[in-house]
Symmetry: C2
Subunit: 287 residues, 2 copies
């Protein structure tokens, strides 16, 4: 399959839906939300949700509100992570970070607004049975909350500057990045009403993909590639895979996770081609 084309088409879909959800307005909060939300990015999480939905027969438009919610939550986490009290980043994807442009107070509110509106978008989705939509809300909240992303970020904050073990690095990444990626895949399946077996397979795929993604991101980061997800973990002395395993070891680990992700899709046939290509793509970025 032509992944470039697929990514571009799905990315446009997400882009348009996000822009329509937050049209230009005079309020500074809205402007600041648009600044961060519509600043580009690979839109990997929403595309994963759409692709997982397709595997289970759901048209993209049905999964789209949930896909947008995932990107809004991802964006909120970046805005808050960049704050001076957290990673203190001045640049994100080559542009000044939210707090640099709008001030710290408004940047905090941008994150709060995006997180809240993400749940509003999901709760307001049309054409999805309420029980499924509610399941997706529960899924995303669990992935983004204390046991997932926020909890991972708190561990990361505590681990800063200290030498972390591989196990610790894995735990932090699994929660900080892996949980939301995994839930992106699961949300697509849940909204589509996947059967238990397919959901299990897609969950395993999402889990391995999440790890592969983070290892690849760490590798890009260590090699100073600006394609890395805006992170400067290496400079911050944070726990990273190359830091623990070395560059070659990290590359081998990423390939292993990719292969495990692909293995989980066995039996899902041609419908899972996009997910397969995405797994390969995520790791290829860093090799």
């Amino acid at each position: 399959m032509d992944l470039e084309r697929y990514l571009a088409a799905r990315g446009r879909l997400v882009e348009r839906a996000l822009a329509a959800r937050f049209p230009p307005a005079r309020a500074r909060l809205r402007q600041a939300v648009r600044y961060s939300l519509l600043a580009g990015g690979k839109r990997i999480r929403p595309i994963l949700a759409l692709a997982a939905g397709e595997v289970c027969g759901a048209p993209a438009r049905r999964v789209l509100p949930f896909a947008c919610a995932l990107e809004m939550i991802h964006t909120y986490s970046l805005v808050h992570d960049d704050l001076p009290a957290m990673d203190d980043d001045d640049l994100r994807r080559g542009q000044p970070t939210s707090h640099k442009v709008w001030g710290e107070g408004l940047a905090i509110l941008v994150g709060d607004a995006l997180l809240t509106e993400a749940f509003r978008v999901m709760a307001g989705a049309r054409g999805v049975p309420p029980a499924r939509a509610l399941g997706a809300v529960a899924e995303v909240a669990a992935a983004a909350g204390e046991a997932g992303m926020v909890g991972g970020q708190a561990l990361d904050l505590a681990a800063e500057g200290s030498r972390a073990s591989l196990r610790r690095v894995q735990d932090i990444h699994r929660r900080k990045t892996g949980a939301l990626l995994r839930s992106a895949v699961r949300v697509g399946a849940l909204v589509a009403g996947a059967d238990a077996r397919t959901l299990r397979r897609l969950t395993a795929y999402g889990e391995h993909l999440g790890l592969a993604f983070q290892i690849a991101d760490d590798i890009l980061d260590a090699s100073g590639d600006p394609e890395a997800d805006g992170r400067t973990d290496h400079e911050l002395g944070k726990a990273t895979y190359p830091g623990v395993l070395g560059l070659a070891g990290a590359r081998a680990a990423a390939a292993r996770e990719r292969d495990a992700a692909l293995a989980a899709l066995r039996g899902l046939g041609r419908a899972a081609e996009a997910l397969r290509a995405l797994a390969a793509y995520v790791v290829a970025r860093a090799s």
Copy 2:
């Protein structure tokens, strides 16, 4: 009715449910969440939700998860509002604020976690038809989001130090405080499956109560009463009712809103006694 007793009993119910949801754990994030969430407070929002549910025949245990979610969102908003980049408060209910105890980074994450977990609690509520639970999620997200609380806080941030008109003060308060109070009443009704007419009445009640509450809070604040909701708007030169209407004018406005709230409950009979007593209580605090 014996409001004191009612408040104490309902308050205990909420207190126990919140503590059970966040049991003690080693993680600093959990400790910091408990520090702010279980630090006392009047629990007005959850009690309003429970009381509105009762009017429509819903037992307290059914509304309780939603009531807890409202208190979690209220607490997150206090933790973020207290941050140095916002109101920069050192004390909240006589105790050091979250960022003073746990540091700014963790305080931001405490708010993020509480906001996210609030939606998780609602999505995981048992015994409520999914369509109703989803309606409650949409209601709370709308009240807490860009058009409501977060948007109001952004306006407040922008208005700081400037002379605001009454209209502007009302708009800020309606969004910053009123929206969540109104939604607390509506959520109780929605979860209980209230008919359209009752929902309209309770919505009007919630709207007037929200305004009465904020005017009363401004009055307490202006008179330096530590019972005020931890705010120091007066010192911050923020827009307040006494600042615009004078103390006597603000008191009259609070009484008018209380009367309008009571009028909205006409026809709801004895089941609405708790809501009536709450309206009187909210204003009596400040007179």
